[in-house]
Amino acid sequence: MTGLVVRRLVQMPFIILIVYTVTFALAWLVPGNPLESPDGRRPDQAVVDAMLAQYKLDDPVAFYFDYLGKATGVSYLLGDAPRPFDLGPSLSQSDWTVNEILAAGLPVSVSLGLAAILIALVLGLFAGVIGGLRPNTALDAGTQALAVIGISLPSFVIGVMLLILFAVKLGWFPIGGWGDLQHVVLPAFALSLPFAAYIARLTRFGMIDEMRKDYIRTARAKGLPERRVAMGHALRNAFLPVLSSLGPATAIAMTGSFVIEKVFAVPGIGRNFVDAVMAKDITLIMGVVLVYSILLVLFNLIVDVLYSWIDPRISL
């Protein structure tokens, strides 16, 4: 297992470098000018030239290496930069550096994403086990129907419905924003639904499959109560496919919540990415993509480690 972790960690910089290069090429090719304000008011040409020179936007090759050096900390080690891991100033949000933007948004996105996965796990496992233990009953059909709704309803519809019901009509939760656990509940719930539905289906099929197997018959034969047969034996195996889906799902939940962030006014990094692409804010695009890819690689690694821990038969 140590071997795998080391191998993955060694691979990581190369994966990130490829992501960096491809993203940079795409971002550079996006038409438009990051220094142009959307209201169409254009500063004097001398001003535009000054800005282009300041951000090294006049030379892609120089920009590529300069940014790479600063972002990785190499420039810092060489003594060319005052700080390591400097992702540069945002081009469209000129009072902020990309580091500041990520530092503000990342904890929010991460906790929202984790909360959503948590809710998804609870809901999904619960619904999946119920359906899996009593396949083709009304209860199963009911949970399946809910799962289909969870997958197919777009999150902005669910989001607005949740807001109107629980925030405006009942007043249980604030409308939007961020600050305490109350702010997390509605967006996390809305964000969790598709994941919950997916987990429910995986668990249901897993349970149906496992419950037919020989070791379950053995467990029953030795007189274990049905609850322990299901939860202790079958679920443990049925959970494995769920677990392997959790790595990417967690990364997606933490990063792909653009719509949820917008509807619930959550100050995460998802919408920064969309805004950055719209504004061709190259430094911010690069920063967000780098963080996304690091998260994705890390979560896949964590899941692999968890995998062998939960199922000792798997050796890494």
């Binding site: 100033p89 924003g177 600050g179 656990l181």
Partner: protein, 633 residues
Amino acid sequence: MLKIFVPILVLASLIAVVVSLDDERPRADVVLVHGTDLFTLDPQRMSYLHDLRASRAIYEPLATILPDGSVGPAAAESWEVSDDASRYTFHLRSGLRFSNGDPVTAEDFKYAWRRAILPDTAATYSSLFLGIAGARDFFNWRSDLLALRAAPDRRDELVDAGSFSAEEADAILAEDGEASFRRTLDRFDEMVGLDAVDPHTLEVELAGPLPYFLDLVAFGTFSPVHRPTLEAATTIDPGTGRIEEDRSWTKPGRLIGNGPFELVRWRFQRDCRFERNPFYWNAESIPAESIEAVVIQDPNTAILAFEAGEVDWIPDVRAEYRADMIAERLAYEDRFEAILAETEDADLDRTLGTLPPPDAGERRNIHTVDAFGTDFFHVNCRERLVNGMPNPLVDPRVRRALALCIDKAALVQRVTRLNETTSGGFVPAGSIPGYQPPEGLPFDPDRGRAELDAAGWRRDDAGVRRNPDGDPFPTLDILFSTGSPRYKDLSLALRDMWRRELQIPAETSGRPGNEYRAQLEMGNFMVARGGWYGDYGDPTTFLDLNHSEDGNNHRGYASPRYDELLATAAATIDPEARFRILEEAERILVEEDLPILPLCTYVTVYMYEPDRLLGLTRHPRLDQHPGRWSVRR
């Protein structure tokens, strides 16, 4: 089995920890919504409306725009204007202090204005400062200096162009960036008519008479900055000589201003909070203790937050159903028509607040207020189109025909559904005290058809309009940007009106924003969606747009008569006479030449309870001052 729940527990505790690290404060006295975060709190680099509004909380320029649109004193207690309106002497209030207690002096204003003029700062609104004597030459000189340091091989070229003497160019190339910057500061003092005579007196010499200079001075970019803070954040690149600023000086704890409030919190894309500045000269008269702007991108969520009482003011309601909400407002107004008809616009909120609350299907918390902008369509006035074809719109009679066949009332009632004030002129009516924009052309299809006939485009037996050579009227192409449904709807409506009333073929073409702008700037259009917001309280903020040499004259309109009138006005010192000349220029624009087809005054849709939020002005400049707001709870 327990193992499965371990990750779940770890997750839950992680979330609890992260969330509990957040910093919560009590609700501010006034909470408003920003659709997107502030762009900058550096006054000299501002250009967005909400940035400039925030600047009025934390900074105060020499003068201010009063609720009726006129100019009043602010950081300056008084001023003198020379008879030829080209020299202004400002007297600062005594005892003015920054939010850290440091005194505010004339030198701070000079420093800030110099920042705005320096091309290094890349200020969008640097052009507003170029009316100061020598400012434009200084701007160009500094740009050339930077160009020279960046590319020494351009020395001969720049010397030949007269930017520098040969000795000066060599000296610049020989010195380091720091020395070049000192040279720049000396040059500024020599060239630019800006002088801090003593700590309380700022003298400004203009390049020519600018009767509206006081209005400019009240604009946010003319605010002072705290010199020690800025100097600490500034470095000079030793090679290029360019000024580089550490922009984090605009963050709470570092930003020091002279306005009624100080910045206590600014969290990216989330919120910013201002609390009363105890050092402000007029602190006792500021009604609100604290003001907070929360970022809510989704227009619908903003309205839900308002309905739930979490915010007091939405300065820009963009929800798709806003037209329906406005209809509810009109229903409410209908009920009290008699009372409201007698109410002055400035007292409207107070009167509304005393009326009985709205019934179901009515509301009084949505407000459409005229803005300082005009919605119009551009008409290409060039001889030929970009594709080389002759342009029928080069004939002013054809352009008038288009204007005469626009049913503006129908557009605002049935297309935009915002009931904007329709407009025949370019400068919004009532926005500039003392200026009376012309009526423009009415909706008169018969006259429109007559103009088209007179231009030689007569209908043949088949009903096709042809010129005397027998060529059919080319398809009128209407260019619009696809970003907003408003422009698509308006373009389709115009297409139908012109097809119906003038019997000419017309089509629309929608392009994404960037491409639309590129086409517009290239002149590759016949008719195109337009729109303009004024920057300062003078008609020229609109009229300059049609000067033959203006950078925003995308229409290729070149009228010596019009340019001449603008030049005469610029040389006229008497404000009354000057306005009459500008009115004549605008009349030519919107009644004779029609390079633009004005439709209506833009509106801004506000949402607030008129009996709760006080202190907003309805004057079209919409210069809202946080220091005037209060909420009754």
